[in-house]
């Protein structure tokens, strides 16, 4: 698993990358009550705002961590946004991306580096 400075986690699954937010981020946000997901089959660029999550207190954006194509979204979050808090690194995933080259993920933090960041 890789981590971004924006507190997203990235997990390689075959030739796809699954993206979600870390437990630390979910805790900081508080109870998630609404998730707006991107359209599938859309090309996005690194830094694009692709999802909106609203907690009881505030709205935040989820950014595309890298360039690529959104090929799947977790539609369960629409009716069960609390999955983001309950299982942030499992059932609370947001979207899957197809990248040209998975080696771009090397730039991101590993578990130890991420723990140092939030520690």
């Amino acid at each position: 698993m890789k981590y971004t400075k924006e507190h997203e986690w990235l997990r390689v699954e075959g030739d796809l990358v699954v993206v979600g937010i870390t437990e630390h981020a979910a805790t900081q946000l508080g109870d998630v009550v609404f998730v707006e997901l991107p359209e599938t089959d859309t090309m996005v660029a690194e830094g694009d705002e692709v999802c909106v999550i609203e907690s009881v207190k505030a709205a935040s954006d989820i950014l595309a961590p890298v360039d690529g194509e959104i090929v799947a979204v977790n539609t369960k979050l629409v009716d069960a946004p609390a999955l983001v808090n309950e299982d942030p690194t499992g059932a609370g995933w947001f979207f899957k991306m197809k990248l040209d080259d998975l080696s771009v993920l090397d730039q991101f933090m590993d578990e130890d580096e991420y723990q140092d960041l939030i520690g």
Binding site: D31, V33, K57
Partner: protein, 373 residues
Amino acid sequence: MADLEEPELLHLGLEPLHEALGGKMVPFAGYRMPVQYPDGVMKEHLHTRSAAGLFDVSHMGQVILRPKGIMEELKIAFEALMPVDVLGLAEGRQRYGLFTNDQGGILDDLMFTNRGDHLYVVVNAACKAADIAHMTKGMPGVSVEPVTDRALLALQGPGAEAALEAVVPGVAAMRFMDHRVFGDVWVSRSGYTGEDGFEVSVPEVHADAFARKLLAQAGVAPIGLGARDSLRLETGLCLYGHDIDTTTSPVEANLVWAIQKARRAGGAREGGFPGAARVLKELAEGPERLRVGLRPEGRAPMREGVELFAEDGTPVGKVTSGGFGPSVNAPIAMGYVARAHATIGTTLLGEVRGKRLPVTVAEMPFQPTTYKR
């Protein structure tokens, strides 16, 4: 993460207790206050509605008003600042009040209590310095005495009565908006959550022990500002500085219930408060805009600042408070809309992140109140 604390923030007497309970402290109205505890806003909100929540509201301004002459003069002087019936309030009873400015806008909202030979007033934290100056200047025959050595706690929810009765025997006999003095503990049966409950003023030196005694009662949990906000929003109660301010009149704010007959046209003491011309005119003719409840049709919350449009695209108003209502399990909001669009059931559009989403003008409160009348 670095915790860059504002050096000028004021500290609550109960801050060590909040920290011991795991409160996440944030700046609010000039104070360092718990926004939530480890349970989080959603659970704290639901706990208050199902059991009992303890809130530290010591940041609010407690003030004693004492007549330099007779009590009647104090009541008349206080009526000159508000469109509210003060003379008609019985001893041991509390009432909601509003200070208006000369334009009929709201300077602050407050609670006041008739304690026989004086009045006890609770005002908003952010307004307290201005309120004290306003009362001192506006009531020369009155001694305006800020109470600075007392904490203020709110205990709210269906479990509040039993929990407080165990600590302060006698409170169970009180009704909604009653006020009683138990030694050095001042109890009002009121609050700002829509639930039955109490607000309790205790000397600061005893506050920590008193709060811990309440927290030791079955079902009592500490609740932060986050849930206090969602609870009052579900109840349709205004937050000063957001839903009401110096530009909104009490009539526009849908607070006409707070203007008793005696102060309206034809009443025994009609008008005679700052901004009476506008307020009485709006009472007679209806205001240009009105504060209404709003229910977004989808799941996306509409927060403060969201612009509202009629279905034909005409701008009609703005959201002043909004978010998610944990008990109604849906997004809820309130805001001001032009009167022609303020009828319950009207469909409007709220602009969220560039998209205009349907929202319905709705009855408030969103969640039924459970006051013990």
